[in-house]
């Protein structure tokens, strides 16, 4: 998936270069972004090579989506009533349900097992406000374009402005857990600060979205 998204980014960059070519002029050299490793995020400055603002914005979101679609994030943004777990995004064990407030049901709440910090001995992950994202914020199984439009829509992003979205991804403690998941879990790529910078750059370039696929 990550490799596929990388090619999407590169394809966008190439398309930018090709579509900005006007008749009679020599085609500019296609923009090819560096291939990011699975544990890193491209820096905002690396997208400067894409001269078209809207295309740069879409490419930036492609990098943001690498985090959103990482198991550390997407596992608790299910499109149903139960979360997933582990890198393979298996059904959560025990079989918990979201409940009316997205924090479980009486007797089996998220915080019945999850603490405010990772448990070293028992490996149970934890962070403040451990809970599921509301069903309106489902990310599991969604395309990059869908995620992009969802993130911009106050009806599906917790009523947040884009400025609040930047603040949320940059500083929220539960979001931040994705880079400090404890035990032997693979963190989300890059850092929370890098994600915040990418989201800000995406917003500053018009918060453009890739084409939404089903």
């Amino acid at each position: 998936m990550r490799v596929g998204e990388l090619f999407v980014i590169i394809a966008i960059a190439i398309a930018v270069a090709l579509t900005s070519c006007s008749g009679g002029q020599r085609a500019p050299t296609p923009v090819v972004l560096r291939a990011a490793g699975p544990a890193e995020l491209l820096a905002v400055s690396e997208f400067d090579a894409i001269s078209n603002r809207a295309d740069r914005s879409r490419a930036l979101f492609g990098e943001v989506a690498r985090v959103l679609r990482h198991p550390r994030c997407i596992n608790c943004h299910p499109d149903g009533d139960s979360p997933h777990q582990r890198f393979a995004m298996e059904p959560h064990d025990p079989p918990v349900v979201r409940g009316p407030a997205n924090n479980g049901v009486p007797g089996l709440e998220c915080t019945t097992c999850h603490q405010t910090h990772n448990q070293q001995l028992t490996r149970v992950p934890g962070a403040p406000k451990w809970q599921l994202a509301p069903i309106d914020m489902a990310w599991f199984g969604k395309s990059v374009g869908y995620l992009c439009n969802e993130l911009k829509d106050p009806k599906r992003n917790g009523g947040r402005t884009l400025a609040k979205i930047i603040e949320h991804v940059s500083s929220d403690e539960l979001v931040g857990w994705a880079w400090h998941p404890g035990a032997d879990r693979e963190p989300a790529p890059g850092t929370q600060a890098q994600l915040g910078a990418l989201v800000k750059a995406w917003v500053d370039t018009g918060a453009e979205c890739p084409e939404e696929r089903p």
């Binding site: 064990d93 025990p94 079989p95 918990v96 349900v97 409940g99 049901v105 009486p106 007797g107 089996l108 709440e109 915080t111 019945t112 097992c113 603490q115 405010t116 448990q119 070293q120 001995l121 028992t122 490996r123 149970v124």
Partner: protein, 155 residues
Amino acid sequence: MKIKINGADQTLDVDPEMPLLWALRDVLGLTGTKYGCGEALCGACTVHLDGHAVRACVTPVSRAEGRTTTTIEGLAGAQKHPLQQAWLDLRVPQCGFCQAGQLMTAAALLAVKPKPTDVEIDQSMAGNICRCGTYTRIRAAIKRAAGVSDEGNSK
């Protein structure tokens, strides 16, 4: 640290990261709460913190500081908890090892949902494992304690 367990104030001189279950069983001698899997996957160690069910095997004892802890030993008042009476009436336990946890989870459910539906019972009890397979009797006993008819369900 000072914690309140089953209505009594207790002072513990332990590592704040010690699992609550260890403090209950090994330090305070409250052995009604059982060690099952040690990974919050079976529910045998379920107790209440301020009425909310928690798995004591993965809960640092420091989380209990400033909160009210209730174990199976403190579930009943002067009389048996309605769930305990229903458990006896319907002879729910087989080996019994998981039943303290089953009761504590069921009590947390009934405190919020006094008349739970079958689905609500199943969702709340889904994380409490019983290797003897007493699930249908557990559900029937919860409904009996809640005063909900169990007609039509297999026993």
